[in-house]
């Protein structure tokens, strides 16, 4: 077995979450559907204010190849289409729907058995259903399949739970195992790949034992257990740790014959074929010290964060910090009235403010960041070059390859804000590159 990419065991204050049974929450009165909740161009609204919409009806049309459609998660009335805070930060155009509580299904929804063996039809259906990567990256799935079709031999299913302390992937694998295996078969067919690897971290024992008993007899799907290290779910790391293939800098998984899909994405694909239901619901982990009991919930996309916390039993103590996503890369928010999106795998409410109150010293050159970096970079030197604005050095030391996974900052005894320094370093290098380009053009 080849060497494993470095990673760290994250010790955190988050408790282990029991993944099942997941809780289905009462629906909110209003849902906020951001038209930009994926990588790529925002969707264009295709309903108007005051219009009656049905559950599963398309309300936003994908704009271009890298984009995703948006659907009504409930039946009701379109109250407004306006700028509203987004779970990705900032504001974006949002369709606000008033829930009529009737759950009337859109008449357009129907099973699509014709997609079982037709790759083109399946990709079209995936595009129509607004399916995106549900591990958090939210890259449009149809575009991913398209870019990789015929170029790959292995489909990798990411059941590694990208972030420590979350159990959304775990819950999905336990509760929707049949849909997952159906989804894997569909993705294999669509991508034209021969075999699939279902990669699960070793701390998800129940999912490993359940799924290993259900794998297809033809051996097309292999289950691979991985150590619970962070960032195990990173695309480049996952491909290397399962197949030993190394994507060159700036390359794509297809370059090494792989495509990676989150397990919940595969389930969404199966669901689209089985019932025609677009992506309007997902698993989300509620955890953190402000909650009495951590739990995994099924949420409709667009449900306000505040409604989810309250409907799941509210807080035990007043939260000082609320994080959308996981503890390592999640985003802390200052308001909670935005709707969750297709990538919202967790909501963490912390009763204590956490790392920022800690004592910072200057870098003591201990080298832990170098040991732990999953990309083999030297964050200690990158930090220095960023501070000195040494753009050429930032390039030489590959700042653009940084994942911003936070492993360096997590282990830093000096408590340096290394992730922000990497982001700043990238911005400084980009500015320098642009200036260089302009200078060269002026010389011509």
């Amino acid at each position: 077995m080849k060497l494993h990419i470095p990673g760290v065991r994250i010790k955190h204050t988050l408790p282990d979450v029991a993944p099942v049974p997941s809780l289905t929450l009462p629906l909110p009165e209003k849902l906020y559907m951001p038209l930009s909740m994926h990588i790529g161009a925002p969707a264009a609204p295709c309903v108007s204010v005051g219009e009656q919409v049905y559950k599963g009806q398309k309300i936003g049309e994908a704009r271009g190849a890298i984009s995703a459609a948006v659907h009504a998660p409930v039946s009701g009335t379109v109250l407004a289409i306006e700028q509203w805070p987004s779970a990705r930060g900032g504001e974006c155009e949002t369709v606000i729907i008033e829930n009529d509580g009737l759950e009337t299904l859109s008449p357009d929804l129907c099973p699509h058995p014709e997609c079982e063996n037709d790759a083109d039809a399946l990709v079209a259906l995936v595009r129509e259903c607004g399916i995106v990567g549900m591990g958090g990256a939210t890259f449009p799935t149809a575009a991913k399949i398209d870019s990789a079709r015929g170029k790959m031999d292995t489909v990798i299913l990411n059941g590694a739970e990208c972030e420590p302390g979350l159990a959304s992937d775990y819950a999905a694998m336990l509760e929707r195992s049949d849909a997952l295996l159906h989804g894997i078969r569909l993705l294999l067919m669509a991508c034209g790949a021969k075999s699939a690897i279902l990669a699960i971290e070793e701390n998800k024992g129940e999912a490993i034992s359940l799924l290993s008993g259900k794998l297809p007899a033809d051996g097309s799907v292999k289950l691979q257990t991985l150590p619970s290290l962070y960032p195990q779910g990173g695309e480049k790391q996952l491909i290397y740790n399962t197949t030993g293939r190394e994507i060159r800098s700036g390359g794509l998984p297809a370059d090494v014959g792989c495509a990676v899909f989150n397990v919940e994405t595969a389930i969404a694909v199966a669901e689209a074929v089985e019932s025609g239901m677009p992506l309007i619901e997902r698993y989300c982990t509620l955890s953190g010290s402000a909650f009495a009991q951590p739990k995994v919930v099924r949420v409709r996309i667009g449900t306000p964060v505040r409604h989810i916390s309250e409907a799941a039993g509210g807080y035990e103590t007043a939260p000082k910090k609320i994080i959308l996503g996981g503890p390592m890369m999640g985003m802390s928010v200052y308001r909670t009235d935005m709707g969750v999106n297709k990538g919202s795998n967790g909501i963490l409410a912390m009763a204590e403010s956490g790392s920022e109150s800690e004592r910072q010293t200057s870098c003591i050159r201990c080298g832990r960041c170098v040991e732990n970096c999953p990309m083999g970079l030297m964050p200690n030197y990158l930090n220095l070059f960023t501070r000195k604005n040494a753009a050429e050095k930032l390039q030489e030391y590959h700042v653009f390859d940084c994942l911003e996974c936070g492993v360096c900052a997590y282990g830093c005894p000096a408590r340096l804000p290394l992730v922000q320094q990497m982001k700043l370093g990238k911005a400084r290098l980009r500015a320098w590159q642009n200036a260089e380009k302009a200078r060269k053009e002026a010389q011509k």
Binding site: S249, M329, R365, V370, C373, P374, A409
Partner: protein, 316 residues
């Protein structure tokens, strides 16, 4: 309900170690060797250590205050420097010597370069070498068995004369020999080193490569006929263990990569043996580490890890 939420950048969780806890563990690890020193050489050594630590702490505080910089006493690095400096001094030195040493270590070597993390030489070792300006004082030894200042040769100075010392290797291992306050007991130093390894403050690369290099060289080129005994005495005498475990592993002045650490340890070992064999001074540990300190930037550059995705024959 939540009002006033805190917004901060990820990651939102942090590992357990911080600079202060690491320095504290170094202080704990130094304690056994210091205690052996106190036990063998008595009260004067306690005074020397107190003055050394006091001097380092005072000058750290005073300099930062005069320079209008933040107070950094809380990171305990000044305490560590003070302890290390006193451990490299003879138990017979007058008390003004560690006072000057503390000033040189903290102000000249560390703070003038920007403070913790910015100095390119180990402050305690650089100060020790500065104190060799008073060579006679630095080289007067005390017999380890009593506090009556009988001058006594250290095992290393005996070996400089190509003879084996009078003490048994076991005496050297336990600390029943003349020498600097903190260097006499190999057992105590190894205990401290094991604690640092177990608590993951240091990695084994530097001490192992350093000690192995010295072992191999002295075994291959012994003075006299008893190779193994000669090698054993070389390993157990002088400041080798103190240097290999506590000085060469100083984060700030050692390489940040494992391959760099191995090269650095080998370099320290080679220079130590060369000085011990060919220099006019019996001990070479301090000088070898300081010389290698100057090459750390080069070792870091040479041993920069290959970034992921930059394999030469990477799939295209």
């Amino acid at each position: 309900m939540e009002d006033r939420l805190l917004v901060s950048a990820p990651p939102h969780v942090r590992g357990g170690d911080d600079t202060q806890s690491i320095m504290l563990r170094v202080i704990i690890a130094l304690t056994p060797a210091l205690l052996v020193g106190f036990w063998r050489f008595g009260l004067p050594t306690l005074m020397i250590t107190a003055v050394s630590v006091g001097s380092c702490v005072f000058f750290e505080w005073g300099y930062r205050r005069l320079a209008r910089k933040s107070c950094t006493l809380g990171d305990y690095s000044a305490v560590v420097t003070g302890l290390l400096l006193s451990m490299t001094l003879s138990p017979a030195v007058p008390l003004w010597l560690p006072l000057i040493g503390g000033f040189f270590a903290i102000v000249v070597v560390k703070q003038l370069y920007g403070g913790l993390g910015k100095n390119f030489m180990n402050p305690a070792l650089a100060a020790r070498c500065f104190l060799f300006s008073w060579a006679a004082l630095m080289n007067s030894w005390v017999s380890p068995r009593g506090v009556d200042a009988v001058s006594s040769a250290t095992p290393l100075s005996v070996m400089k004369g190509m003879a084996l010392p009078a003490e048994s290797p076991m005496d050297c291992f336990l600390g029943l020999r003349a020498g600097c306050i903190g260097e006499i007991s190999a057992a105590a130093l190894l205990l401290g080193g094991a604690y640092l390894l177990l608590t993951k403050v240091i990695r084994p690369h530097i001490p192992l490569s350093y000690l192995l290099t010295v072992a191999v060289l002295t075994f291959l080129f012994p003075r006299g006929n008893e190779r193994l005994t000669w090698m054993l005495y070389q390993l157990l005498s002088g400041g080798l263990l103190l240097g290999a475990v506590f000085m060469a592993t100083d984060y700030v002045t050692s390489p940040g990569t494992d391959r760099g650490r191995v090269l650095y340890g080998i370099g320290c070992g080679v220079i130590t043996v060369v000085i011990r064999y060919f220099g006019s001074y019996p001990e070479g540990v301090s000088f070898s580490i300081l010389i290698m300190n100057l090459l750390v930037w080069l070792l870091d550059k040479w041993t920069t890890p290959r970034a992921f995705g930059y394999k030469k024959e990477a799939n295209t």
